[in-house]
Structure formats: structure tokens, C-alpha cells
């Protein structure tokens, strides 16, 4: 039977298991929207800005492990997705973004709402397609999903000209997918695993560094098994939080610019660093020349370009983190079953435990004002650490990372690589669609929230119980902190005192608004606010000039932290 391009698209999405589609209609995609009501198996979520659609799809993907999908129109609809796409690309999140395009005969003609979105997104997508022939549409969608979710995941954009959507073709679904030019390596080389085990047997002071790749490949169990069996302390990158429980005695916490004292010190004293699914970002390494100076480095990554990009690696392991870690464990068990790892590493574990004890993450409480860290701790207590936490970007993001003590993978949704303010709230909306029964909370700053605040209408429209906890310091806090510490207190353009009344604003949208100002009110008011079934802004007025510590100044070595 002949189908229109719109029918082929929606049938293809159904075959790929899409249940939620985040989107915003417009002229170039109106035929797809015309067809949409005839496909009740796909729930369309109408957002209020295309950037919100991409972040929502991203939050959906991170929380569920599935591919997130969104649909927008040509021109401005397409360009509005770019920040969201770049955010997902930076953090390796599987997305399929379908953009409308002007009819093929008008492409290149400066037509109304025309933009070369394939050209624009080439450097920030894993791959992108312009579909010119309706008979290739089903195959293209199949390839887009395959590319998005396989190997190192990432966003894939499919640009659909209006005449292709209207044209007719037979629907042929390619069950098998093969691309001769794309063949990611999952299974690691056995020799490299053996060499890793050899390194592990030589090491006196090993550290496991667990990154976002561990979350993506669902390898948290393998990390925990290896760490506990071999008695290796584990540090997590921001993207890796939740990959190893922060409450475990072997957990060192987060590493990097705002990492824990013990984590940064352990890395710079380690004689072996086994890094799984992290790419040695500059926020993780600090000054490269002084990063892990005493360590041999094993680097496990599914993307060969991550390896030896900026850190010299002694044992490269290309492959899936889950398979690699399981393989290492298997070799250890087969060959070294009798080895007393606990005794081997006892001295080292004692040393890092002492660092943890002597300089834990901390802050000074105050009787007069609420400390932002205290809010995150209260959230942890009230949710028993079981909520999905989405963050915006800035100080509040670091406090959430430091003080929520993430214990499970896929519970922290944060823009780690690109650092996109405005990410967290729409991401929480997406996550709530993926996991309707979970409590989903955005920890936001007052500045970040205002970058995609319009999505409150989406939350209200779909009656989502998403909560936004605003750590409101009426500052662009992280930049203010840098100005205080590194720019002679020259507070240029970081005062955000002019801001809306977030309570009234929430109410104006039909959501609930709460304001908490006194430390004594924090727990009870927060508990009350979290209990409402409606979406809510919880405006917590916090200490205005609190800083995030520890901090490794940009360009300094990890062990040159400022602690207070």
C-alpha cells in the first residue's frame, strides 16, 4: 500500500518503539501534524519552545536509557534546537531530531523559514540526513535510530522537506540494519584486558574513575563488583555520578574542579588510574601536565578518539564499558582467585579514607540565612535519595552534584559537557514522561531557570508533578564567584536582583508557588511543597554570596584546591 511521507515517518517511529514525541508544529511539518492524531500510540507533547523540546527529549533519554525524539518545523524551529542538540552531543545522549524543511525545489532559494540546518548541525550531531526521496525515508529513520543509540550514542538529525512528507511510496521497513562505513567496537580486545589485569596486580594505589560511559552502557553493577572485589576506591566524574553509590565506603566522590578533596588527592597520588567511560575533560583534569602524575593509565572507552586525546594512556581499551569491566573481573577471578586484594590495597584504602574523614565536603550553617547546600541535603533527606534530580548549570549544579549523594545511575540529569543553562527544567519534564511514577525535581538557579521558564506551561498542560527548587541568590552565582576569587571583586553584570516573583509567576501559569526564607522553615515547607501533585516552583531564598568549594582554579593542578 502506498503511504505518504508523514505516514511512513510515524509508522517508522512506532516500529522504533517511540511512545513520546516532543514537538512544536509549523508550516513545514503541518502534514506530519495532520497525520499525528491517527497514531494514538505516539503521545505528542506540545512544548512552548523548540529548545525545550530537545532538552525534554534529552531528559527522557537520560532517565530511561531509550532514544529521545523531537519534531520541529523548518527555519527558526530548526535553529532553536541547536543548543539542545549540542548539549546532547557533548554528553553522548541518543536523540533523533526531525526537522521540517522547505520543499526540495525551494532549497537554496532563501525561501520563507528556510535554513541549512544540516549544514548548521554537522559539527554537533553524530550524523545528519537530508531526505530527498520519500522511498528512502523509512531506511533513513531506521539508520538514524541505529546511529543514535549504538556505539558512542549521540544526536542524529533528519531534515524532511515538505514535498517529501507529502509524496507517496510503499512502506518497506528494513528489519536488518547494516552500514559498511559504521561499525562500532563493543567487544574489547582480550589482550588489552589481560594487560589491564596485569596493571592491577602491580598497582599499590589504584583508583577507578567512573564516567558517563558507565551510565550509558549500564555498567554500574560491573563497576561496583570490580571495586568491591579488588578493594579499589572509585571516583566519579560529574557525568558518572550515580554510577557508583556515593554512600559506599570505597566512594571518593566527584573528581575535578569542584571535586571532593579525597577524590582529587587520590587521583594525584594513584599509581594506577583505570578510567571507564570518561574523556578527561579539562574540568576533570585541571592542569594536564600535573594530572595523575604518578599513575599508569588504563582508558576504557567505546570511542577511540577519546583515547590519547589529551592524556597519555598506557593501556587503551576500545569497547563497551560493561563488557570491558566484566571481562577484567572474569580474568581476575579465573587467574587470581586466591589473591587477597583487601590486604594488597589495605594501606591505600586506609589513606584515602583518612582524606575523606579529614576534609569532607562541608559548609557553615547560619541561623539567619538558608545555605544552598543545606537545601540539597534537605532534598536528599526528604526524597531518601530516590528522586530524579535534573539541574541547570552553575553553582546550584555543583551543590546538587556534591550534596545529593547519588546512589543510582540515571538519577542525575545535568548538562556536563556543554554546560547549558536552561537545560534542567525541560529535561525534568522529559524525564517525568519517561518515569511517571518517580519524583522528578529540578534543582535550579534563579538565572538558569529563566532561560527556559516558559516550559512551565507544558508542565501545567500535562499536569506533571515536576518540582523546581530554586536556589535563589539573585546572582549569576558561578560567574560572581569567579569574579570574587579571580577577578578582584569586579562584579560585572552578575547581579540578578531584578527578577520575577517566582511564586506569583508559578500561580499565573496555573502551577503552585512556594517561598522559603528561614532556615527553620526549610524542612517542613519543602516537605509540604514536594507533596503537591501539581507542578510547583519552590523559591528558596539562600545566602547571596555563598561559594562552591573546593575549587581548583582554572589551569591549576587538582591538588591545588581552594578548600574554603
Amino acid at each position: 500500500m502506498e503511504c505518504t511521507g508523514a505516514q511512513i515517518l510515524l509508522e517508522s517511529l512506532k516500529r522504533e518503539g517511540v511512545d513520546v514525541l516532543f514537538g512544536y508544529p509549523g508550516g513545514a511539518v503541518i502534514d506530519i501534524y495532520d497525520e499525528l492524531p491517527r497514531h494514538p500510540e505516539i503521545r505528542h507533547v506540545l512544548v512552548r519552545h523548540e529548545q525545550g523540546a530537545v532538552h525534554a527529549a534529552d531528559g527522557y533519554a537520560r532517565a530511561s536509557g531509550k532514544v529521545g525524539i523531537c519534531l520541529v518545523t523548518s527555519g527558526p524551529g530548526a535553529t532553536n534546537t541547536v543548543t539542545g542538540i549540542a548539549t546532547a552531543y557533548s554528553d553522548s545522549i541518543p536523540l533523533v531530531v526531525v526537522t521540517g524543511q522547505v520543499p526540495t525545489r525551494l532549497i537554496g532559494n532563501d525561501a520563507f523559514q528556510e535554513v541549512d540546518i544540516v549544514g548548521i548541525t554537522r559539527p554537533c550531531t553524530k550524523h545528519n540526513f537530508l531526505v530527498k526521496d520519500v522511498s528512502k525515508l523509512a531506511l533513513t529513520i531506521r539508520q538514524a535510530f541505529y546511529l543514535a543509540r549504538s556505539g558512542r550514542p549521540g544526536p542524529v538529525l533528519v531534515d524532511l522537506p515538505k514535498d517529501v512528507v507529502q509524496a507517496r511510496a510503499e512502506f518497506v521497513w528494513p528489519e536488518d540494519i547494516y552500514m559498511r562505513s559504521y561499525n562500532p567496537t563493543y567487544k574489547p580486545n582480550l589482550n588489552q584486558l589481560r594487560r589491564t589485569v596485569e596493571e592491577l596486580t602491580q598497582a599499590r594505589r589504584p583508583v577507578l574513575l567512573s564516567g558517563g560511559g558507565v551510565i550509558m552502557s549500564n555498567a554500574a553493577d560491573e563497576v561496583a563488583a570490580l571495586a568491591r572485589r579488588l578493594h579499589i576506591p572509585v571516583a566519579c566524574t560529574l557525568m558518572g555520578l550515580g554510577g557508583f553509590p556515593a554512600t559506599d565506603p570505597l566512594s571518593l566522590g566527584m573528581v575535578g574542579m569542584h571535586g571532593a578533596y579525597a577524590a582529587n588527592l587520590a587521583i594525584n597520588n594513584a599509581d594506577l588510574l583505570v578510567c571507564a567511560g570518561a574523556r578527561f575533560d579539562d574540568r576533570v583534569t585541571g592542569k594536564l601536565a600535573a594530572f595523575a602524575p604518578k599513575a599508569r593509565i588504563v582508558h576504557i572507552d567505546i570511542d577511540p578518539t577519546s583515547i590519547r586525546k589529551n592524556v597519555e594512556v598506557h593501556v587503551p581499551v576500545v569497547g563497551d564499558c560493561k563488557l570491558a569491566l566484566a571481562g577484567i573481573m572474569e580474568i581476575c577471578e579465573a587467574r587470581l582467585a586466591g589473591r587477597d586484594w583487601a590486604a594488597e590495597h589495605a594501606e591505600w584504602v586506609r589513606a584515602v579514607t583518612e582524606w575523606k574523614r579529614s576534609k569532607p565536603l562541608g559548609y557553615q550553617k547560619s541561623e539567619n540565612s538558608i545555605k544552598p547546600q543545606q537545601v540539597v541535603e534537605a532534598l536528599r533527606e526528604l526524597t531518601r535519595g530516590d528522586a530524579i534530580i535534573a539541574t541547570e548549570v552553575g553553582q546550584h549544579q555543583m551543590w546538587a552534584a556534591q550534596f545529593y549523594s547519588f546512589t543510582k545511575p540515571r538519577t542525575l540529569l545535568t548538562s556536563g559537557g556543554l554546560g547549558t543553562m536552561g537545560y534542567g527544567f525541560p529535561a525534568a519534564i522529559g524525564a517525568q514522561f519517561a518515569l511517571p511514577d518517580k519524583m522528578v525535581i529540578t534543582v535550579a538557579g534563579d538565572a538558569s531557570l529563566q532561560m527556559n521558564i516558559q516550559e512551565l506551561a507544558t508542565a501545567v498542560a500535562y499536569n506533571l508533578p515536576v518540582k523546581v527548587v530554586i536556589l535563589n541568590n539573585r546572582h549569576l552565582g558561578m560567574v560572581r564567584q569567579w569574579q570574587e576569587l579571580f577577578y578582584n571583586h569586579n562584579y560585572s553584570s552578575t547581579n540578578m536582583e531584578a527578577q520575577p516573583d517566582f511564586v506569583k509567576l508559578a500561580e499565573a501559569y496555573g502551577a503552585e508557588g512556594y517561598r522559603i526564607e528561614k532556615p527553620a522553615d526549610l524542612l517542613p515547607e519543602l516537605e509540604k511543597a514536594l507533596a503537591t501533585p501539581k507542578p510547583a516552583f519552590i523559591d528558596v531564598v539562600v545566602e547571596r554570596e555563598e561559594n562552591v568549594y573546593p575549587i581548583v582554579p582554572a589551569g591549576a593542578a587538582l591538588d591545588e584546591m581552594l578548600l574554603v
Partner: protein, 162 residues
């Protein structure tokens, strides 16, 4: 910083050149020359890229080229035996007594004169990178008015029987 000649087989589809070039510009890698033409197999294009970099940069270039979804195969000819050739046209000032000397140079390098006028000659030359550089430097004193080079193409040498 060593010179490398990379052979890259790509799917012949719209935008593929831009993906490759964008990789070099976006990551700050150098392209010295770039040549693209259809390969033997239909639907496949053959790119020859000459670039400079230390071993770590070259490794990254190779890996990133591989990572582009439309790239089928990447070979670095630096550590394999390969033949490499490039073609160029050089238009030189050629008046009076200079003409004979230019023709002698052309002969020594086994080049051809493909166009001539009362005061100019256009020379076609083929050779490896060093040979073309040598020709250019010798012709410079006559006055080079225009230069067009194809960029290198390369091919792995057949294995010798032992």
C-alpha cells in the same frame, strides 16, 4: 611535525566533503592539500589529504576521520610504501633569451609545455611533492605568473614477491 598522505574512501553523498573539511577546521588540524574524485566502486569517492602533525595529532586525525559515519576506510601512507604524484600547471614569464633556458629546465624535469604565447609559457608537470617544489623553485627566477596544483594522489605499492 611530519608530512602525512592520507587516503580516505567515503560514501559519495551530499555533504561528505564538508564533514571531512569541517573536522579539520573544527579541531584545528592542517590540510596541506586535498584531492577528491570518484573511486573504482560506484558510489564511493576517494580523497587524498596531505597534512602535517606529530604522532599524537595524526592518531587523532585518523580516528576522527574513521568516526565520520560516511567514511569507509582511512589509510596513512607515511609508514607504508606508496607511490605519490601531483600534477600542476605553471605559467611563467618567457621572453627572448629566457625561452631556451625554460625549455631546458622543462626537459630535465620531463615536463611539457602545454600553452605558449609571445611572452608566457604554461608548463605541465607531474611528480611527487619534492619534485614539484624543485621545479617551482627553479622557475621562480623567470617569474611565475600563475600556479595551479591538483594536490597529491597516492596508492600503496604492490607487495614484492620474496
Amino acid at each position: 611535525m611530519q608530512r602525512h598522505v592520507l587516503s580516505v574512501l567515503v560514501e559519495n553523498e551530499p555533504g561528505v566533503l564538508s564533514r571531512v573539511v569541517g573536522l579539520f577546521s573544527g579541531r584545528g588540524f592542517n590540510i596541506d592539500s586535498l584531492n577528491v574524485a570518484p573511486a573504482l566502486e560506484e558510489g564511493v569517492s576517494h580523497m587524498t589529504i596531505t597534512t602535517y602533525g606529530d604522532s599524537m595529532i595524526l592518531e587523532q586525525i585518523m580516528k576522527h576521520l574513521h568516526k565520520i559515519v560516511s567514511v569507509i576506510k582511512v589509510t596513512d601512507f607515511a609508514d607504508t610504501l606508496a607511490v605519490e604524484r601531483e600534477m600542476m600547471f605553471v605559467k611563467v614569464q618567457a621572453e627572448g633569451p629566457m625561452r631556451g633556458e625554460i625549455l631546458r629546465t622543462v626537459e630535465i624535469f620531463r615536463c611539457k609545455v602545454v600553452d605558449v604565447s609571445s611572452n608566457e609559457m604554461t608548463i605541465e608537470a607531474t611528480g611527487d611533492h619534492d619534485k614539484l617544489e624543485a621545479i617551482i623553485s627553479l622557475l621562480q627566477r623567470f617569474g611565475i605568473k600563475e600556479l595551479a596544483r591538483t594536490g597529491s594522489v597516492a596508492m600503496r605499492r604492490s607487495k614484492k614477491a620474496d
